[in-house]
Symmetry: D2
Subunit: 357 residues, 4 copies
Amino acid sequence: MAGNSFGTLFRITTWGESHGKALGVVIDGCPPRIDLSSKDIQKELDRRKPGQGKGSSPRKERDRVEILSGVFEGKTTGTPISLFIRNVDVDSSSYEEWKEVFRPGQADFTYQAKYGIRDYRGGGRASARETVGRVAAGAIAKRILGKEKMEILAYTVELGGIGIEKKDYREIERNGLRCPDRKAAAAMEKKIAEAKAKGDTIGGIVEILVRGCPPGLGEPVFDKLEADLAKGLMSIGAVRGVEVGAGFGAARMSGSQCNDPIGPKGFEKNDAGGILGGISNGADIVLRAAVKPIPSIGLVQKTADRAMRPVSLWIKGRHDISAIPRINSVCEAMVAVVLVDHWLRQKALNPKADRKI
Amino acid sequence: MAGNSFGTLFRITTWGESHGKALGVVIDGCPPRIDLSSKDIQKELDRRKPGQGKGSSPRKERDRVEILSGVFEGKTTGTPISLFIRNVDVDSSSYEEWKEVFRPGQADFTYQAKYGIRDYRGGGRASARETVGRVAAGAIAKRILGKEKMEILAYTVELGGIGIEKKDYREIERNGLRCPDRKAAAAMEKKIAEAKAKGDTIGGIVEILVRGCPPGLGEPVFDKLEADLAKGLMSIGAVRGVEVGAGFGAARMSGSQCNDPIGPKGFEKNDAGGILGGISNGADIVLRAAVKPIPSIGLVQKTADRAMRPVSLWIKGRHDISAIPRINSVCEAMVAVVLVDHWLRQKALNPKADRKI
Amino acid sequence: MAGNSFGTLFRITTWGESHGKALGVVIDGCPPRIDLSSKDIQKELDRRKPGQGKGSSPRKERDRVEILSGVFEGKTTGTPISLFIRNVDVDSSSYEEWKEVFRPGQADFTYQAKYGIRDYRGGGRASARETVGRVAAGAIAKRILGKEKMEILAYTVELGGIGIEKKDYREIERNGLRCPDRKAAAAMEKKIAEAKAKGDTIGGIVEILVRGCPPGLGEPVFDKLEADLAKGLMSIGAVRGVEVGAGFGAARMSGSQCNDPIGPKGFEKNDAGGILGGISNGADIVLRAAVKPIPSIGLVQKTADRAMRPVSLWIKGRHDISAIPRINSVCEAMVAVVLVDHWLRQKALNPKADRKI
Amino acid sequence: MAGNSFGTLFRITTWGESHGKALGVVIDGCPPRIDLSSKDIQKELDRRKPGQGKGSSPRKERDRVEILSGVFEGKTTGTPISLFIRNVDVDSSSYEEWKEVFRPGQADFTYQAKYGIRDYRGGGRASARETVGRVAAGAIAKRILGKEKMEILAYTVELGGIGIEKKDYREIERNGLRCPDRKAAAAMEKKIAEAKAKGDTIGGIVEILVRGCPPGLGEPVFDKLEADLAKGLMSIGAVRGVEVGAGFGAARMSGSQCNDPIGPKGFEKNDAGGILGGISNGADIVLRAAVKPIPSIGLVQKTADRAMRPVSLWIKGRHDISAIPRINSVCEAMVAVVLVDHWLRQKALNPKADRKI
């Protein structure tokens, strides 16, 4: 209950600070006898590496994951899997200067307010670097889902105010922004370059698509599938909004527009985003997460220090221009963890259900 | 873990079906020695009564709450509080006709798929009627928050595509739609009348404002305050999207626009919506929930029965035109429950923290 | 997490005070499509009725259970089951006299110390009457286990210092003390009569036997099967010790005596009590619970009031002489709840396991 | 919920196998601003080192703990603390020979039955070596309790059938068996030598004493203090029975003997073991755990392999003769973790309570 664990039957616990000795995650409840090597996890970590897309920072991160437990002779054993990533080449000296200052848009003030102490180096626990453990755990969740023919895909549908006009899923892996619209991707890259030139940053929207999810996942009334998905996504630092299916658009629809008719072959459209009454309905699950611009900007900012004295803050150094597309893999990871958890919960219930759609 | 409980230290468990014998909620973890009578709870239940606003159904509901435990001589004792609402005048005969049919936009299909059985009367457990337990528990949560000078207010900021142009909080209790803009309220009522004439329904957006929340509430990294709030709101059947502060709007901002500068008296604007890094920052907490149109419409719909044979469905009877404004009190209740839970969690941690903002 | 719920996937939440309006339990996570009527539950409640055995109180309790939710057309639906028992003929006047006094061996002092308030009528929440909800939930758990060919039997192996010399399971239902040794049962009844004559009470030991449990139940390392069973039994007010298999006797054995040899047909003896390494091994599960004498005695006792002034306490009225045999059905209930929970958890894990023993 | 976490607000998650790369624990919910260095933890780990008492194995373990997160500039930050112990000099070759054989009294069979796979090297996850993470976490829990003037002491009250006749707490640290009776300790050492000569092992009883616990800890009705303590102790592999206060002895008492009278200065005796109604009463908490003999013996044993063919098993090598006294520090750790958890839970509730005793 202490905030750093997520999930019930498939439960991940992350630990580690941006500039601490190491980061990691313990996965408890992974089913036994699943093939797993560190390569499977490393592949996902490499996807979130910087330098993928021009909006990303040129810093070099060398995250090498080590499996410390829970795997024997290449297979999971059902015991907890501990994944470990040593921090290397950590230089915290640049943070000394501002250690008494609350950076706007960051968690500096609130961590100080909550705990009365904070590791100021690189954002400490509040750093986006914390998500390395989520992505590592997500890699295992995705393998489990893969065995069940479930697939998760996160892609960029808006960046710096540029939206997509079409969805060509093959295009996603072809451009650095994971954007399914080549033309939009080019315009987004231009927005990134503009922001960079100004020392500013930009936000955007990530869509997450789940294909192959069977009907029946989700535990009403509080652990509805979309409720746990919303929590999972909203627990990512930069995410400020979450919607499922038509989402905020549904607020502008009439009932006759919004209801998905059921034909002999199933749902004839998917404004529900694959979830009805908190339970998956067999259609694709569609979610969107609003990602705020990175708060670390290269411009002078007005702020205060711990004594609430005014400070004019200008942080040197290079930073990412957008959390997108690196955050996309974190979104995939959180969705994967939620789905495995609910898939296991449904297995426990195990009814002979009507699943004809 | 079985889906019908919410919260950790302040934990509510709801039970009951739309047309069953009764509905209720057990509240575990309520602090002792708080003044509480059934009147305090009844008042909140009455707020969600139908006939408040022209979008609501003319059915008569007489929900009388009874406190069965946990209160002694007018004060809570720290033991579980069981609240009980007997269903009266329940007529389920109209549901017999469609008991083998999956109503579009409803949970009929998914409950059948998940459980292999369902109480088809009035939506059973998936009915909005389930929220009566939430509102009852929320009434207690609000009393606890009230003692701590925290206040929660939910109001309608959009309905049937009509948005508000100003926020006059005094106006909220003056119109049946809980809309803080009198002119917009009138336009919304017109939209309701139009939808009603067509046999259709409409959706909208509810904003929830929390005033007086101290800094320090929220448990990173997974139980971030906005993550638990998102889960709480998204667990309400009709909610399809949730955002905090600037929300989806933040996706279109630059970092220099989105960051809230800190001045000597605190945050100088509030695009963060009162939460930074998953922890309350002392500013107002601002949330919005997208509410889909009610799926029960008075128009003929294309659907299927359990054998997936095509069915042309037309449901007689009068229904609500919008979940708004009745859902507003449910939103308030869920936000109240989350806040009490996190307030208790922070009390356990209890640091001598810097709370100067 | 607030203390009044037990279990993870199969989760019970009890509520109610001895002299409040009602008592009850909510069962969340009950698998769907199980035949269930209030009669099935009433039968178990009747077993714990007073007047079964001469050690029990002659008070008349008429506990009528009502199923308020979660059952439709005679079958469970997978939604929460709310069970409700109205308190009738409750006379609290006799408790007024001692409301400021801490009765020795009771929870009066500690409830006051913890909550700063207490419902003094009949022990309030700390009364053995609270277990009515456990027994009701246990009745459902037993039905689920019955479908899986698991059977639970609690019986008296010691009372007032009289131990059994043989185990004839048919004898259990034949005497009022649920004792499998007819001769010992007679001696126990004599002890009860002696204690009654003195105004005193006596304790004893209950053994719980589970037959038909498959191998594989239990979740190391903390949710070992015996750990959850120990918690379940130790959470019953009168229980002061719990052991599995050889239990405290194992402390006096050598390894060569204690280890159960494995032959071609399985374990050749059962000092492990059916559990190895926290996981059921397919043999009978054997547990024992030490039950203290009932603290309400008919003798004058030295104690104090809230101001810590000395009080000479003599409580009028008739009381049970021993919690045995009424507590036996509570022990069965708690063991049943733990087993259903772990059976569901193992179903979620669902390995193709080697279960040859 | 997946079995490898323990606690609610103060929550530990252990991971690691006997012959894997490393073992460790993540502590979530540790209050901030507590002085902590790896030395504080190392000291506790060294206490469970072998070679402390003649019953222990002569193998050399060099457990070096590393703090990987959650501590900044010598103080806890409120974020999760990851502790890490690398396994060194691990030789698993001796286990190859018996990898298809189920060792009697061990978890070999049940892990195979549950998971369909097992790490057979040194018992894998079921090894007593898993407790290194518990002791490390317990070291932190003890520091927290120390600040609150609570102290935990585990000592040996019985070994190989030899019980103590007096309790001289100063004696505990003076002999290798942590026995408070010097004469009994000598007799116990003789029993160990006898067992060793025969290639056999012995069991015993550990008593755990908590001094300085305030009244009010424990959350009825299921998370009673003794219930969580029983679960914590029973989750230790070798423990087969747990009792509080008079324990099984209470089963032989009359109510007038068992009830602790309350005088003007508090409880006049302590058969309750410091807990009434599931809540600490301010007196010393007294628990006892029955420890079975170590199942790895130097004698030939009858058993079976995975095909259930008869096997005559004789395991070479040196082993501990008794889990006592090494297990004592594990008992202390589990009790410490439970107490910190309940102390935090009570802080959340925080009543102005009557705590005069």
